[in-house]
Structure formats: C-alpha cells, structure tokens
Symmetry: C2
Subunit: 177 residues, 2 copies
C-alpha cells in the first residue's frame, strides 16, 4: 500500500508530456479541476496575475493548430488551455514584472493535475514569441493587456508517450558549487 506522499511523488515522477491523444473530448468539469489547480500556484507577492481561456471547440483548436508550428497535437486534443498574464495586474504596484514565472508555475500545476486525472497534456510555449502569441491572440480575441504565456493541449493519451527518467545526480551540488 502506497502512502499519500508516495502517491503524490509518483504523479510528479511519472508525468510526461503527452503529444498523442485519442481525439476524445474532455469534459468541462475536468477542465475546471485543472484550472482550480492552476490558480493554486504561488505567485510573486501573491498577485495572481493569471487568466485562462479554456477551449473545447473543435474548429477553434484546428485554427490554433494551423498557425502554431510546434503545437500540431491540438488537432487531436480534447481541449486546450491558454495560460495568460493580465498586465493590468502584473504592473499594479510598479514592481518588476514576474508574471511569466507565476504563469509557469500555474502551467506546471495543470500538467500535474491532468496526469492525476488520467489525462495527458503538453506545455507549448507562446511567450516570448511574437508570431505564436499574435496568432493565438487573434483566434481567441485576446485584448491588448492580456498576454498569452503557454498553450496546453489536453486529452486522453493513446499510451504512446512514456515517462522518461531525467534524474541526473551530477546536476546536484552540495553546499556550494
């Protein structure tokens, strides 16, 4: 019997980027769970500068795929989440902008929650690429103050994507370099 901590650590270690989906749609209630996980991420000064567009419409996902050279898996995904930063929140106190770090933490939470639910997901970068961001902005109608950070295709895995062991002890230094 696995204890709670082992179950959670296994989820972190076994999660992999899933690029091969069955094409089955993903229910709204599951997407809500992913979004709840996203918003549980930490953010600099707890500013929570994020906002999300959840997409299940087939033709929107196809249009997004068309202009995103590295995100063709959208054609078979059951949903997609665009993680964005709201620059009116980012800059509200004039602090240096860490919104993209907060959006990255939220993106990672989505991937882990998807894996926990038996879904697959893959983080595809939009920021800082103007061409990719501009395409997404146009298709889903993002206003100027909303900056797309990542697009995460979500779906039911075909089983082709396998976990990798990426542990490299030589990347750990103890006490100092």
């Amino acid at each position: 019997m696995l204890c709670f901590s082992e179950i959670i650590l296994e989820n972190i270690l076994q999660r992999r980027s899933v690029r091969n989906f069955t094409g089955e749609m993903v229910e709204h209630s599951l997407l809500m769970t992913l979004l709840r996980a996203a918003m549980a991420a930490p953010s600099a000064r707890n500013r929570q500068p994020w906002t999300f567009v959840a997409i299940t419409d087939r033709s929107t996902m196809d249009s997004l795929a068309k202009g995103l050279p590295f995100t063709k898996m959208l054609y078979k995904a059951g949903a997609a989440i665009v993680v964005c930063g709201d620059s009116t929140i980012n800059l509200q106190d004039g602090a240096t902008d860490l919104w993209y770090q907060d959006a990255a933490a939220a993106s990672q939470n989505i991937l882990l929650a998807a894996h926990a639910l038996g879904l697959g997901a893959v983080w595809s970068a939009l920021f800082p690429y103007e061409d990719r961001s501009g395409h997404v902005r146009q298709i889903i109608g993002l206003p100027g103050h909303i900056n797309p950070f990542s697009i995460i295709p979500v779906g039911y895995p075909t089983g082709e994507d396998l976990p990798k062991d990426k542990f490299r002890p030589e990347r750990i230094h103890w006490e100092r370099w």
Copy 2:
C-alpha cells in the same frame, strides 16, 4: 477513502508558501527526493537546462539571508535549494532561451514535493534581479555560466502558514475572450 487523484489534487490545492520554520534540519535523503521531483519537470525541447545547489550548512544559509531582503526565512530554514540554469546547455542549439520557464517548472515541483513530505517551502525569486543573483553567486561560488533562478528555503513548518483559496472563476474564459 480518498482515491489517488484526490490525494494528488489535494496536495496541489493545499500547498502554501511556508515562511515560518521550526529550525529543525532537513535530511539529505528528503532533499534528494525534492531534487528528483525537480528534474522530472518538463523543459523546452527536453534540454533539461537546470542545475541545483542544495545547502544545509547553517552559516551558508545565514550568509545568504544577510544579502537577500525578501528571503530572511533562511535564518530558520532547515535547508535551501538554489535552482539554476546552465547557459552552456540553454544555448547549445542557438534557440531562443526558455531556461527560466524550465527552471520555474522545476521550482514548482520542489514546492509540491516538499508539501507531500510534510515539509514547507517558499519560492523566492533571484532572476532577473542582478543584486540578489550576484549575492548568491558570490556566497556559493557559482561560475559565470550558471545563472541562479530561484532560492527555495525548505524546512519543517511551525503551522503558522495556512493555505489560501485562490480560485477565481472570473479568471476563466470559455472558448474565447
């Protein structure tokens, strides 16, 4: 009885930034588990551009705290992990550098794994701040090609830091903005 997915989601939702530690040391074996979780994060093109310095030495943590205005919790932490990017890996194929997004995903995995183990942790930004990065670089002897991204004090929580419900349904847009 909670099912596996509920246990994992609860860990994501209940995790909070822990700034109040008992002062008890954190064992090497637990830090290894955190670092294993960190390296299970996804990275752009699977380049895994990260490297880590794990610190348990009291006087090193005190020296770090001295020069980091927002990371005074190091004085009571049981350990600290500095998440870094190795610019010789980042730039190896001349691609635009996404190392800080990869380092952010690794940082989030550390926070979640710490919570799973009954530890507390808090993500403190070093990048893109020259002053904070420079201080850390000097104390732990980072060479020029290693760029500090975050410092994560880790320790046993006093219990003062409580989870926050940060779910905001108004931050979710369906299908398009």
